[in-house]
Symmetry: D3
Subunit: 75 residues, 6 copies
């Protein structure tokens, strides 16, 4: 069974740059190009099941309801 | 009081392109450059309080724990 | 591009039973068998992009970090 | 069946002050005392099932993983 | 004080099968019957406060807004 | 660049009371006054970047969509 499409509006293709492996959860840094990175915290079991390591191609995805918006002042 | 720094690792500066205004929540599309967009669903009250409209500068931010990772096969 | 695997540990295959369509978000009830249902709230845009309607086959998925646990007393 | 305890560390008892009812989701403002309020967005179906209205006693609860932290500068 | 009802639409009663205990968070696998499992990541403090161990009866619950939907192709 | 305002409706100013430091994530207890505490789980990297320690002033913030509501019976 293969997922064809997912409702998460926000999907970024990238390359795993670094994995900080923890006992239960791990932090995965994904380079999505143009000097931008997305950091994901997933279970260490998932890191192993997906076979993630630096250089792996991944999609980082998140639901729109999880995104907050802030206004800002120039420094 | 001004927020200096926030722990959300994932922060993207962008421009509001479109707001789909709903009765309780609204969908805000943010252009973060390089043809990439982040979609956020926030309360319509927040849209009004932040004064968001197309052209507004915003930061889209989300916690690392909200980001899922997927592996993929080329089409 | 096709997603091969996703880190969300919790994935349930089911059939859409009912969609309560809203202006910005919609509520989708998914029958996952054995009299169990999972309810998902996604953007109405996603409902349309995925072409969801009653009878559609879907996977409902969520991250482990989103699941709370409660102890209970028999009624 | 009655829930005895739930793992959500953050639980605040309060009184519903206002409900902004939407087609699919509703915004519920809960007065938790000492001039503090917590706003919750839940499905309108849930508002009806719990019988929520201004004056209802409720517990607002959320998981620790959902809480972001920010440092700030005095105004 | 006892919780009578909670707005989370998605509540599954089950038995804890396994706990992977970590320094700050732990991964709890809950057997919800019919060969289905839900995995939850909660604080290790919560595991201790709820007295969770293999064999404990629990309810796994999550908000509808946390559930993503995907369409799929047969393998 | 300084964040002026953020859409998270729920923002509580407080003082860090305790940090339980883990390998990847840490648990931060924030005293928000009136004997109330909010617990946050953030990445340990964020704890270090924000320079959090007991006594630090912080804002704990979370989106309305993350807040569940429960009705309850007096003990």
């Amino acid at each position: 069974m293969t997922i064809k499409a997912i409702n998460a509006r926000n999907q970024f293709q990238g390359i795993v740059k670094h994995i900080k492996r923890g006992d239960v959860v791990s932090e995965v840094e994904v380079d999505i190009g143009h000097q931008a990175r997305i950091t994901s915290i997933v279970s260490t079991t998932s890191v192993d099941e997906l076979g993630l390591k630096p250089g792996s191609s991944v999609i980082a995805l998140f639901k729109s309801t999880e995104v907050a918006l802030a206004s800002f002042a120039p420094a």
